[in-house]
Amino acid sequence: MAPATKKFALSADLWAVIVSLTLALLVHLGVIKTVAW
């Protein structure tokens, strides 16, 4: 459990930043206009 989590935890942090900022950019550019909940 631990080694897999360790490797994943390190990459998940940066991946989350990259994916979230990309989504935010798409929203800002109007590519994603509305998101329903």
Partner: protein
Amino acid sequence: MTVATEQKSNPLALLPGIALLFAVGYAGKFIEQSIARYGKAHHLVLPNIEYVLWAILIGVILANTVGLPKIFRAGVATYEFWLKAGIILLGARFILGDILKLSGISFVLIVIELAMALTFMTYLGRWFNLRPKLISLLAVGSSICGVSAIIATQGAIEADEEDSSIAIAAILALGAISLVFFPLVGHALHMSDHAYGLWTGLAVDNTAEATAAGALYSDAAGKYAVLAKTCRNACIGFVVLGYALYWARKGQAAAIENKAAFLWKKFPKFVLGFLFISLLATLGTLDPKLFPSLASFIHFGFNRTQILALGNLSRWAFLLTFAGVGLSTSFKGLLKQGIKPFAMGAIGEIAIAGITLALVLAADHYYHL
């Protein structure tokens, strides 16, 4: 092949698990909405049970009855990623000024919580006669931020894999229990969303469980819980560095040559993403007449529709996270850890929950949170 290497070699291997996270999370949302619709149609006052609880419950039942087939495991393990993405996007729902104000109070309480929790857990571990490095891992896990802190500390102090697994299992078991007790205590004490969110952010160890425990109370409480927990996460590097230096001085861990590089390596980068999104959301709300010097930057900010869209993206990311929390909770795995670390963790957690509750109630009394 480990989950991580499998995922790195083939990202498609993640899809079945992510689809399962979505199915479980959406089922939770569907149940919540169905109950509300039924109550409305039949003029009944039914308790509003948030989708968070349904998603976690469905996940726990699935994981502990039929089990999680291998094909889903890599994708389900991505819930930590969805959690961090959800937190970053949640930054859109915070104005920077609010963050500074709230995190100011949070940081004061966090420093007190950290000092008391680390001291208490260390003495408690000695009293339970546990191995010294296991005590360090449990102290870090329960005082700062659960699994991530334990993993970071394990590498820094060169602790055994077994100690790390035991500490993680104890923290996860206690996190699952906190999902039941925190909302109950919050409702019993009629706590405000802000005070309750601050309390869960300070007292619940793992970020996913802290977010879920907050969201179980209300949407606003979930928001405050994330903010307080993010402040706590930001301190991880300092605490891990402290332990690394302590064990290095004892000759039982490698010496730290560059402390600044060490701090940066351990610093959770998603905190910066959260602040950046919040900065853009704040820029978008500024009136150019009131802030003429910032007028040329305001168009970089998000407008209200964009803030709403980002807030909803954050909610979808959290929906996947909560499903993952349930699907990753294995009672069998939690029982394997042995009674002593669990007992130490449980006593420590109850004490930390009590201390932080007193701190938050006092802050609420004097500063009207």
